[in-house]
Subunit: 217 residues, 2 copies
DNA sequence: CCATTTTTGAAACAGTGTTTCTATAAGAAT
DNA sequence: ATTCTTATAGAAACACTGTTTCAAAAATGG
């Protein structure tokens, strides 16, 4: 992953401006617009993602963005979806393990790493960086898909009779919420230091595993 | 608690405008200004808390607010501190119980109730409603004080040898982070429904108690 | 009582998301 | 091909935000 700037900019494509992209189809233009917004997000944070800055980067009037996405929220939604893609990629990179506890631990680490590597994305997705944004049905579904590996672990553990929880969905949410809580408090500056936050995160994973899995060596 | 609008407006004081308050001392003026901001926060949400609206409510130019608080962040900090006071009051209202597990459960419920009753405050304090705001030393300390009851439970449980955790601070943070995670995902619209969120929250508390306390009837 | 310092308070500055509105380009119909 | 129609382009303006400026007024101190 040499160019982690955006999930869209694979194949090493350089940034496309408005005049170049508008010659092509609308989908390409939309694509490039999201790409521009994503690069600003990663380079300068969520506060820097403004309609005008994106328009400036694309060398186009702001109206074009409104034609394509309706509103800023429409553009933010695309960033949310791209964040889901990035997260899903991180989860997929975690080697599958026969020991489900170990596997879950690995996924937990990947989630932490994601939040630190793509902090701006994390804030957009779950940290209320754009407080106006609330995920609608499609975004929620995409997020659930990103959590696929966690879902699979819970499902498999339930099948094997290794899990104390009867409701798989609730178990996944419990894991997600607990880990998100640590990350969110840390990013919000409510936890003393990075080391302490890390230790807390580890303890949180361990606690979850201990709670959810039946106690047996 | 008939007038839950602000922690400041005890004694049934009515809202004081600038012209009335400026005759008195500066502290009273500051006091009234925070009161005005707090009432806007509760009535119209965090987005409605703007310097101009607060100034309008106080019938004064915006400059006065800058003289008193330096910046908007200075005013937001006061709202954070008042939120801590409100939370502390909710915790104090929970009847102390000899059974520490039960007591912790009660405090957990109080924390949920606080987040639902004072959602706007919760978002200001932990939900990134004002993304520019990061709590500094004083705010962090005030928050820790608000969590006093939780600290006491952990300390007492450790004394009695009822707790698995060696680091009390970490245990408190674990509880806080886990419960905050559920609330934050719920307020962010990431969890399906209110009932599901509530069930998840209950499960989270139970899990924490199970993890932290030594297993003994 | 005057000199100095501070505070007032309206207006302006720089930024935001969004909407007008005319001129231009694109597409469809004859 | 040439109209007629429709939609887009693109600059400017609107309504809002946090913050700063700067004359005038008020408060303070010698």
């Amino acid at each position: 992953m040499q160019d982690p700037s955006t999930a869209l900019s694979k194949k090493g494509r350089t940034l496309t401006t408005y005049q170049k992209a508008k010659l092509q189809h609308t989908e390409t233009l939309k694509f490039s617009m999201i790409e521009a917004a994503a690069s600003i997000l990663q380079e300068s944070g969520a506060e820097a993602v403004t309609i005008r800055k994106v328009a400036e980067k694309m060398e186009c009037p702001t109206k074009v963005i409104y034609n394509l996405f309706g509103s800023k929220e429409g553009l933010v939604k695309e960033l949310f979806l791209e964040g889901c893609t990035l997260l899903a990629a991180e989860f997929q990179a975690v080697p599958e393990q026969p020991d489900l506890k170990r596997y879950l631990y690995g996924l937990g680490q990947a989630y932490w790493d994601f939040s630190q590597k793509y902090t701006s994305y994390y804030r957009v997705m779950f940290g209320g960086a754009f407080s106006e944004f609330k995920p609608e049905e499609e975004s929620l579904q995409t997020m659930v898909t990103a959590l696929e590996q966690v879902n699979r672990i819970v499902a498999e553990a339930t099948e094997r009779g290794l899990m104390n929880e009867e409701d798989p969905k609730l178990a996944v949410e419990l894991i997600w919420a607990s880990l998100h809580g640590v990350i969110d408090l840390y990013l919000g500056g409510h936890l003393p230091g990075a080391a302490g936050a890390r230790a807390l995160y580890d303890k949180s994973i361990s606690g979850l595993i201990q709670t959810l899995f039946v106690q047996a060596n």
